[in-house]
């Protein structure tokens, strides 16, 4: 076998290194191993020193200056069809091992049923459920997801700074910094965070290339579809809602639809007494329902830690 001279060796090492650091296709796996796997400590150190991480998708855009994103959900228009939840799952490459998905929809007897009524003699949560299979006009439906709090408990407690509040109001997670301690999960009052208990599998053909795949052992959640909203589009859940119950926009702009809604209507926020400063507002207008009723998509299956 021919021995390599120094020049040839340097050349080969350069090509191999280039493949790892600049991965068009075939180098992707190696670079994922370097940055995102359990052995990703090398990538972490390089990134913390240089900010360079080739596994981040090109869709990781900078926040738009002067913008604060928020959402209004009109419960009078929500029929509980779960289309938002399913659309979000596909849009954000959420694997089946994550259950419930980022958006859970509750069926309640009254709109206050979700905000912590206590029934000591009944099963916890009696009268309220997320496992409904038929829609009823005498019930209320309420989607719950990350509220992108201004004073987010998850951001406060995250030891590595992986969870952070971006200037445009989105609570983000840097998956390459997450150590998987789950302190943020126990701190979140809205049970909005999900952990990758197993290696997440989403077939390549179904993946959204703008959203990075997470690794086993890190936490994830709703990102207000950062890959869309920072490009001037709206979130996928807003698009998917058949009755336009959701409105997304810039809370800093007094002329935006969200700002107008929260000025003109009586709104409330989940667990407001905790002073988390949610950026998702709920409306309960009690107007006559006039909407299209769809069959609901099935409830979440195989929820870890939940007795069936």
């Amino acid at each position: 076998m021919k021995k390599l001279n120094r020049r040839e060796f340097v050349k080969l090492a350069g090509i191999a290194g280039g493949y790892v650091l600049w991965p068009p296709k075939s180098g992707l796996a190696a670079s994922e191993a370097l940055w995102s796997s359990k052995l990703g400590i090398v990538g972490d150190i390089i990134e913390s020193a240089t900010g360079f991480n080739p596994t981040k998708p090109s869709g990781a855009l900078e926040p738009i200056p002067g913008v604060k994103f928020g959402m209004v959900i009109d419960l009078d228009k929500c029929i509980g069809c779960r289309r938002c939840s399913y659309a979000c799952k596909r849009e954000n490459n959420v694997p089946d091992t994550i259950s419930p998905p980022y958006i859970t929809v509750f069926e309640t007897e009254s709109v206050t049923g979700i905000s912590g009524m206590y029934h000591p003699t009944e099963t916890p949560g009696a009268g309220t459920t997320m496992m409904y299979t038929k829609l009823r006009k005498d019930k209320w439906y309420m989607p719950v997801q990350c509220n992108h709090c201004d004073d987010a408990p998850c951001v406060q407690v995250c030891p590595t700074g992986a969870s952070y509040k971006s200037p445009d109001g989105i609570v983000m997670i840097n998956y390459d910094k997450c150590i998987g301690c789950r302190y943020c999960m126990v701190a979140c009052p809205y049970q909005a965070r999900r952990f990758n208990w197993f290696h997440p599998e989403v077939p390549h053909k179904d993946r959204n290339p703008l959203v990075p795949m997470r690794e086993e052992g890190v936490v994830e959640k709703c990102t207000f579809c950062v890959h869309r909203t920072r490009r001037g589009k709206t979130t996928r859940c807003v698009e998917a809602c058949p009755n336009k119950a959701r409105t997304f926009g810039n809370l800093n702009d007094p002329n935006s639809e969200v700002s107008k809604l929260i000025k003109s209507e009586r709104w409330w926020r989940l667990k407001d007494e905790l002073n988390t400063g949610c950026n998702i507002y709920y409306l309960t207008r009690h107007s006559k329902k006039n909407m299209v009723w769809y069959k609901p998509l099935p409830p979440p299956k195989n929820i870890r830690g939940l007795r069936s």
């Binding site: 400590i41 150190i45 912590g116 408990p153 030891p159 997450c178 197993f198 086993e216």
Partner: protein
């Protein structure tokens, strides 16, 4: 150059001698000791294989934790051991701070218990995180100044360094026949006092705050928790030391400390149990009396699904305390029973504190949440406990221990 070589040879020769004598002392320990070590090695291997399965082969999903109960058995054990490590440091304070010479035979043993409990706690924490290698970057590369977890993770190295320094001087003084030089004695004294203060104020109270800061969880969000952590830590540390002292005395057929000293330890245990129960009583009373939905829900779970743990915790602590208040409760058998009951009741308390706090759904309608540890999780727990027990047995054989109680 020649001098350096000479010093190097001398150090090497002394290390060889130390190693040989350590090996010899283990070899001479007898068959039962070797069988126990072999069993512990098997349990350690079981734990290691299970940890590799969880971390590198099948995934963290084979544990019983879930998005609804993110913290499970490892965090229960973590809190128990970090408390025990803090509590064991009390022995050093008794010897050096209060001048109780009768506690001296427990000095090195207590340091070992403290250090190995801290090691167990850190191993449980490492076993729990999803990305343990990246967690090694805490707090130097990755850190968030508003997170209590950053500060608590910083304290382990400091506490371990304090205890190892304490161990160094304790061993040095023992080798000199129990009478060290003036500086050795001063260092041993201040390290012992410093270690206890550090353990309680810098290590354990902030661990209570780590939970107390979480306003999302009614059971943790109480300002009493840091103080409660300190008293429970002291109780668990003393209980473990009483248990180890009596067990060692039974096995070696030699009294380690006098009956009076053990009785004094029993009195201390009763005191810390009393303070803990006092805080518990008012915590639960306020929870029930104020009638806040979150508090009532916790009370509901404590007194229904988790009633066995709740009774084990409260009645266990109460009966151990009452038992220890009487003279007949502070006999060797009485102390053995009381310390065993205390350890079990503190484990039940830790289970209630970590698991029950996460059981009430944060929204009604989520359903019935549960947590059951899986076999692999239990295997890792057994492995970690076997590892620290193995190290304790070997180190107490290898290191010089203080002279046991000689009788009046």
């Amino acid at each position: 150059m020649k001098d350096i070589r000479k010093v190097y040879d001398k150090v090497l020769a002394s290390m060889k001698d130390e190693g040989n004598s350590a090996l010899a002392s283990i070899k001479d320990a007898g068959r039962t000791f070797h069988i126990i070590l072999a069993i512990l090695l098997v349990l350690m291997a079981w734990g290691l294989i299970s940890w590799v399965r969880i971390m590198f082969i099948e995934g963290v999903g084979i544990t019983g934790s879930s998005d609804l109960v993110p913290w499970g058995l490892y965090i229960v054990c973590f809190v128990f051991f970090v408390g025990t490590s803090a509590g064991a440091s009390l022995m050093g304070l008794m010897i050096h701070g209060f001048g109780r010479k009768d506690y001296e035979p427990l000095g090195t043993r207590a340091i070992l218990v403290g250090f190995l409990s801290l090691l167990a706690a850190v191993l449980f924490l490492v076993s729990d995180v999803g990305n343990p290698i990246r967690a090694g970057l805490l707090p130097v590369v990755l850190h968030n100044p508003t997170s209590m977890l950053v500060y608590t993770s910083m304290t382990y190295a400091g506490f371990a360094a304090l205890m190892l320094s304490e161990l160094f001087f304790a061993v040095k003084i023992t080798r000199m026949g129990g009478e060290g030089s003036y500086w050795d004695e001063r260092m041993a004294k201040w390290l012992a006092i410093g270690a206890l203060l550090f353990a309680l104020m810098v290590v354990h109270a902030p661990h209570g705050a780590l939970f107390a800061f979480l306003k999302a969880r009614e059971m943790w969000n109480t300002p009493l928790l840091p103080a409660h952590f300190v008293t429970v830590a002291l109780a668990s540390g003393i209980a473990v030391m009483i248990h180890i002292t009596i067990t060692t005395a039974k096995i070696t057929k030699k009294e380690i400390v006098s009956k009076e000293t053990l009785s004094h330890m029993g009195g201390l245990l009763a005191f810390f149990l009393g303070v803990t129960l006092f805080m518990d009583f008012f915590d639960y009373l306020v929870m029930k009396y104020s009638g806040k939905p979150g508090g009532l829900e916790i009370w509901h779970f404590l007194t229904t699904d988790f009633i066995h743990f709740f009774l084990l915790n409260t009645l266990g602590m109460f009966s151990a305390m009452v038992f220890l208040l009487f003279k007949w409760g502070r006999t060797i058998t009485g102390l053995f029973i009381a310390s065993s009951v205390t350890i079990i009741s503190i484990l039940a308390y830790r289970w209630d504190l970590i698991i029950v706090a996460q059981i009430p759904p944060l929204f009604p309608g989520i359903g019935e949440i549960y947590y059951t540890p899986t076999v692999v999780e239990v295997a890792v727990m057994v492995g970690v406990v076997a590892l620290v027990t193995f190290l304790y047995l070997v180190l107490t054989r290898v290191l010089p221990m203080e002279e046991p109680f000689q009788g009046n």
